[in-house]
Amino acid sequence: MNREGLINASVYLALPVLALAALALDEPFTITLATRAAILALAAVGLNLALGLGGLVSLGHAVFFGLGGYAMGILASHAQSYAPLYDGWFVVEGTKSMPVIWLVAVLSSALAALIIGLLSLRTSGVYFIMITLAFGQMFYYFSISWPAYGGEDGLSIYVRNSFPGLNTLDPIQFFALVFALLSLVLWGMGRIARAPFGLALSAARQNAARVETVGLEPFRLRLVAFVISGAVTGLAGALFADLNRFVSPTMFSWQMSGEFIVFVVLGGIGRLFGPVAGACLFVLLEHTLSGVSEFWLVYVGAILLLVVLFARGGLIGSLAGREVADD
């Protein structure tokens, strides 16, 4: 195993080790914290496909995160109140089943990513950053002012949704579920990066003309990457809402999109485990620094600035050095 592999393994194992240690010490909140880090990592892993591999600086990924969250919130609130979601020619009931919610979250965010991608990918550079931001703001303001599902107050779900065979209210079991999903997605992303699609997507980021010249369409590659990326972030949104048992428009806010980018860059852009390291580090900073000072965001700002200016590979990049070899 090379050096980066070693670092990846320790980053990957840090979360379950932490969670198990917390279980042994009876510190359920630390498990919750690890779950939070794992979910944010999942969202950032999704973004990393578009941002790291595809070079698409999306400042609108909160759209998918929020859609995933609202998929959970809307389905579960209808199940909670026994009011059907749609009662016309046929009846659609709400549900408290996680697999169904995940499916809806993934499909709806993929659909949104398809539409936003079709429109946004016509632009590039700063314009792409800004048009994705614009879509994020549209969803944000819409969710605040639309009264049906709580508006700015959001939706509260009293009991966490269920997964067959597990007690999801037990922190360690919910953590295990989240971590299993994160592992699955990481495995998938690792495969994608090395698959034909990943090679072509990465080439399209480095030189679009090259990709066209070998007969591939960068637009389609990017669109598919954007859709997969949005779907994964949407799944993370559903989990995040379930962790908090609550969903609100802040999940759509541009600061949320910004934070995802921060996770990716903090950990190491384009590296499989970069977003995991970044999210873990961010949650850790948030947890420790906010106890140190009321003005702890100053320190977060300073650390972020230093990483961007002086540690361009992020956490994993600084530890592992430059990426080499093709296989």
Binding site: L33, Y158, P171, L243, N244, F246
Partner: protein
């Protein structure tokens, strides 16, 4: 940089060992306060915290852990989990905003914790979503607007122009006003949350037939609106709930706010026992005038002390009953809990005046006596 990163990673691995070691606290009450101390709206949270700490200062039964929610619901939920699971608190309090309260309160009370609201009273928690463990020490969201509607009707105001941001609290406020206002609502305008320019709305006000403006624009929105309204030359009288005219905000609006009527359950010149002492003590301790939020934080502290004097928090039923009795000298005067654990209290009308160099509020009358909210009927507990 590398060393720093490695250290960070090491800390990440070891965080389990260091997270909160305190546990088991005898006859004491451990209070977890989640409030907004950084970012936008931090002034409100700081006032609630300071008022609460002033009330509980010197008490050897109450131990308070304070956390900053940054006004973000997901952070607030995480902090609630932390306080309940890790700090093992008995009572939660501190949340300023309705949307954060909606995120935290239902699950906290479901886990058997007490929650005392020092601000924010979303209608859901007063009605169908009420809980035996949830006590609102401030107000139900609609209360000030309902009282204002009643007061303006009594004053003979016929036509009114309503304005609020387009979000649930704004819609609730306007609904509350209309519930008690007997005249005609000529216009009802919903602005964007966080809007900073009100030229368009002021033009609408100017063109409207209404002879009174009633608005709810909390925080910076109210400051912007009042300053712009004062410069517009429109002279229709303005009223609103106290949120846009508390001490912290008046300092920023200045004389542009003079003459505005606003409803509140408290004012620093309210002549009830203990209030003058509170104002003086707060000024001595923190060097500024207390706001409405400070008064609510203070009352929350007093309520908790009164219950602690009667019952152990470990005996939840006894402690709940002690809270419900609310035997403390509120700086608002008479204070009691209705069956849905929301306040029965008198709401006053205040007017913004200049006292020396300071722009501040003065009591001008009672808007509603022993006012309570309308949602209690839906509360089954």
């Amino acid at each position: 940089m590398r060393i720093r990163n490695m250290m960070a990673l090491a800390v990440c691995m070891a965080a389990a060992a260091t997270a909160g070691l305190a546990d088991g606290h005898g006859g004491k009450i451990k209070v977890g306060m989640i409030t907004t101390l950084s970012g936008g709206g931090a002034g409100l949270g700081i006032d609630v915290r300071d008022g609460f700490l002033l009330a509980t200062k010197g008490s050897d039964v109450i131990e308070t852990v304070i956390e900053d929610d940054q006004r973000k619901p997901d952070i607030a939920v995480g902090l609630a989990d932390k306080l309940i699971q890790s700090e093992k608190v008995d009572v939660l309090t501190g949340i300023i905003w309705s949307n954060l309260a909606m995120a935290v309160v239902p699950s906290a009370t479901a886990q058997g914790k007490f929650y005392l609201s020092p601000n924010a009273g979303p209608s859901a928690l007063a009605g169908r979503g009420c809980s035996p463990n949830y006590f609102n020490v401030s107000w139900q969201n609609d209360a000030f607007s309902e009282a204002a509607g009643a007061y303006l009707s009594n004053e003979g105001v016929g036509k009114v122009f309503l304005m609020a941001p387009n979000y649930p609290a704004g819609q609730d406020m306007m609904a509350g006003f209309k519930r008690f206002f007997k005249g005609e609502v000529t216009d009802e305008v919903y602005t964007q949350l966080g809007q900073t320019d009100y030229a368009a709305e002021i033009a609408q006000i100017r063109a409207s037939d209404a002879d009174q403006v009633y608005f709810f624009l909390p925080g910076g929105m109210g400051i912007s609106f009042m300053k712009q309204y004062a410069g517009s030359g429109v002279d229709k009288p303005v009223a609103g709930p106290a949120f846009s005219f508390d001490q912290g905000i008046l300092g920023a609006i200045g004389e542009a706010a003079l003459g505005v009527k606003n409803t509140a359950h408290w004012s620093k010149d309210l002549d009830v026992p203990g209030n003058a002492d509170f104002v003086a003590a707060f000024q001595a301790e923190y060097g500024r005038l207390p706001s409405l939020y400070a008064a609510q934080g203070y009352d929350t502290g007093l309520l908790l002390l009164s219950a602690a004097a009667k019952a152990e928090v470990s005996d939840a039923d006894a402690f709940r009953a002690a809270l419900k009795e609310a035997e403390f000298q509120s700086v608002r005067g008479d204070f009691a809990f209705a069956d849905n654990h929301h306040p029965i209290q008198t709401i006053y009308m205040r007017e913004v005046v200049k006292e020396g160099d300071v722009v501040t509020n003065k009591m001008i009358g009672v808007a509603a006596t022993d006012h309570t909210d309308v949602y209690g009927a839906d509360c089954k507990m």
